[in-house]
């Protein structure tokens, strides 16, 4: 098909359609409103459903209702909107329905700003909503990767009967890059008749289905939570994805960075290498499950003197890096907030400041 130059937000919208998802509910919020604007004319073209809901709260539950019927459905939003959807996300996870959420992160907390950030890491990976649930979280570093992750998200959500989140940022959403769409996803046999409220007639069954997250009996609720936990444990075994960069070299400093920030770090790593300084990098592509083993091994390298978590936040992923490194070396953090994106030169200065 060839490459097209596309704005990230529009590519993300198109990726949903290419993944066989013809249902999109959303609410405008900067910096991702272009997804809704794009799909408002593109969904009707492909006979899909587009609806702008009255709030992110309502949209979260439109997603839930549609997902509970066994239909592929997704939404996009940005940080404050994701906060509003977080209750629905908890319900969807508790009710074991598949759905895809895309967070194009902006500065926070509160109304914050409209420029990119990575300050929703905790919200995405530790549960923005209440209760013992996790999201499978993927973090793209380019528009192409965003497309691939959005398309991969739907079968993953169905495999686990759990919501999946794509954690992007305002830069990914707004920039234009060449994109090549993978083949349309083939529709796979699904188990949805086992659980979806798609009508007894549709299932040709006399047994009705019930989608709920309420278990008043504490024994049953505990059992239910064990079932959910088993899914998250399985994700940890089967879904970890990460990219090592310059990790075969004898680096003294290991950078851990994801998304847009990782691209800036890659440039810094390349520039430093040209100066004769090796810096290794692990770029998590899944934030949950976190590449714990990979980070531990990379930090355990004989030459490695320090792990440096670089994020557009006040230090969120650094806590996971610390946890995984198990004291093999000191762990530090560098970052900026408010929508300021550190430059490669800044990163290079930070790295040099830690070298004798």
């Amino acid at each position: 098909m060839g490459k097209i130059l596309m704005k990230g937000n529009e590519a993300i919208g198109e990726a949903g359609i290419r993944a066989g998802c013809l249902n999109y509910f959303a609410y405008p919020i900067t910096p991702q409103s272009e997804v809704a604007e794009y799909l408002s004319h593109r969904m009707p073209e492909v006979g899909g459903v587009f609806l702008q809901g009255e709030s992110e709260v309502a949209v979260g539950y439109m997603i839930f209702g549609a997902a509970a019927c066994g239909e592929r459905v997704f939404t996009t939003s940005s940080s404050p909107g994701i906060s509003l959807m977080s209750e629905a996300i908890s319900y969807i996870a508790g009710a074991q329905c598949p759905a895809v959420f895309v967070n194009i992160m902006r500065g926070g907390p509160g109304l914050g700003g409209i420029l990119p950030s990575q300050a929703d890491y905790f919200q995405a990976t530790k549960g923005g909503g209440h209760g013992d649930y996790r999201l499978l979280v993927m973090a793209p570093a380019s528009v192409q990767e965003a497309v691939e992750m959005v398309m991969a998200a739907f079968p993953l959500a169905e495999k686990y009967r759990n919501p999946v989140m794509i954690l992007g940022d305002g830069l990914i959403g707004q920039m234009m890059e060449p994109v090549e769409f993978p083949e349309h996803l083939k529709s796979e046999p699904s188990n949805k008749d086992d659980w979806a409220t798609n009508g007894m007639d549709t299932r040709k069954s006399k047994k009705r289905n019930l989608v709920k997250s309420l278990f008043l009996d504490p024994v049953k609720l505990n059992e239910h939570n064990l079932i959910l936990k088993a899914k998250y444990d399985r994700m940890k075994c089967e879904e970890v994805r990460y990219e090592p960069y310059n990790a075969d070299s004898d680096y003294r400093i290991l950078i851990v960075s994801y998304g847009t920030m990782s691209r800036v770090c890659k440039t810094a790593v390349d520039n430093l290498k040209a100066e004769g300084i090796d810096v290794g990098m692990i770029r998590p592509q899944t934030l949950f499950p976190f590449p714990e083993e990979a980070v531990f091994q990379a930090a355990s390298k004989k030459s490695c003197r320090m792990a440096l978590s670089i994020e557009m936040s006040m230090g969120q992923m650094v806590e996971d890096v610390e946890r995984c490194v198990h004291g093999k070396c000191p762990v530090r953090w560098y970052g900026k907030c408010g929508g300021e994106v550190p430059t490669p030169e800044e990163i290079m200065d930070v790295v040099r400041s830690y070298l004798p």
Binding site: N23, F25, V49, L51, G53, E54, S55, V57, A58, V59, G60, Y61, M62, I63, F64, G65, A66, A67, A68, C69, E71, V73, E87, A88, Y91, A95, T197, N198, G199, M200, D201, T202, R208, N209, L210, V211, K212, S213, L214
Partner: protein
């Protein structure tokens, strides 16, 4: 001679948890009878609220979803948009619909989403132990208005049917009651009409049912019926507020 009166197929055999004198049982039965009569059990999806009817799904024998408090109209929108062939209804109490869920019901109604809402108005929060509702009457004592609802402080009770009728699009809005047989007969007709409009893909349909809550009103079931008739029904007047024939513009009659 055969059976002339039996449990509707759409109603399950489970004994309900509702209180003596609660009219949820009547409302559930009317909905179940209508579903049986229209032959739609195999393609109906109900959405249960948070409130006394949180376990409503245990009393029906077709697909059901459980909504978060107030969000049923949004879930119904999601279902109806992606599977317009399914018959969808929400069943909500006054806290669920008129308090936390006010935004969702107004917008779903305003968009003319083609589902049906059954709204149980008993002027109090039942499940959580009798707190004040947006529909609690002036002077009515509840656990959070122990001196009686003070309208100078919290305003007058909300008439949801009238409120929704101010919108141009929603086309079938009616208030009925289930407290006595003479009202129940009309209520059933209204519920059936509402579902028939949905089958025609005609419009959003809304049936408010003035109900009793003896337990949280502190009355016996018999006293509760009397209080509802003397105090609620004069304020929450019964009848059709909007029917599709009245609605101009034709945007709903698809």
């Amino acid at each position: 001679m055969g059976k002339t009166f039996k449990r509707p197929e759409a109603l399950s055999e489970m004994d309900s948890h509702y209180c003596p004198g609660c009219t949820h049982g009547v409302a559930h039965r009317l909905v179940a009878e209508v579903i049986d009569e229209l032959g739609i059990r195999g393609r109906t999806v109900g959405i249960a609220p948070v409130g006394c009817a949180v376990l409503a799904y245990n009393y029906f024998t077709f697909d059901f979803q459980e909504a978060a408090h107030g969000r049923a109209p949004a879930m119904a929108t999601g279902i109806k948009r992606v599977r317009p062939d399914l018959v969808v209804f929400t069943y909500q109490g006054d806290g669920d619909l008129a308090s936390i869920g006010m935004g969702e019901i107004i917008h779903a109604a305003n968009r003319g989403e083609k589902f049906t809402t059954v709204f149980i108005n008993n002027a109090v929060y039942g499940m959580t132990g009798g707190q004040m509702a947006p529909t609690t009457m002036p002077g009515q004592r509840t656990t959070t208005s122990p001196f009686g609802r003070d309208v100078n402080d919290v305003g007058m009770p909300i008439k949801v049917s009238e409120l929704l009728s101010a919108l141009n699009t929603p086309a079938y809005i009616t208030r009925q009651s289930v407290i006595k047989p003479k009202y129940i007969v009309k209520a059933k007709k209204a519920i059936k009409t509402a579902f028939e409009y949905q089958l025609e893909r005609r419009c959003f349909s809304f049936v408010e049912l003035v109900s009793t809550c003896p337990t949280n009103w502190g009355l016996t079931p018999v006293e509760a019926v009397k209080w509802a008739e003397e105090t609620l029904i004069p304020y929450y007047s019964l009848g059709d507020f909007k029917t599709p024939e009245q609605v101009k513009g034709g945007t709903d009659a698809k």
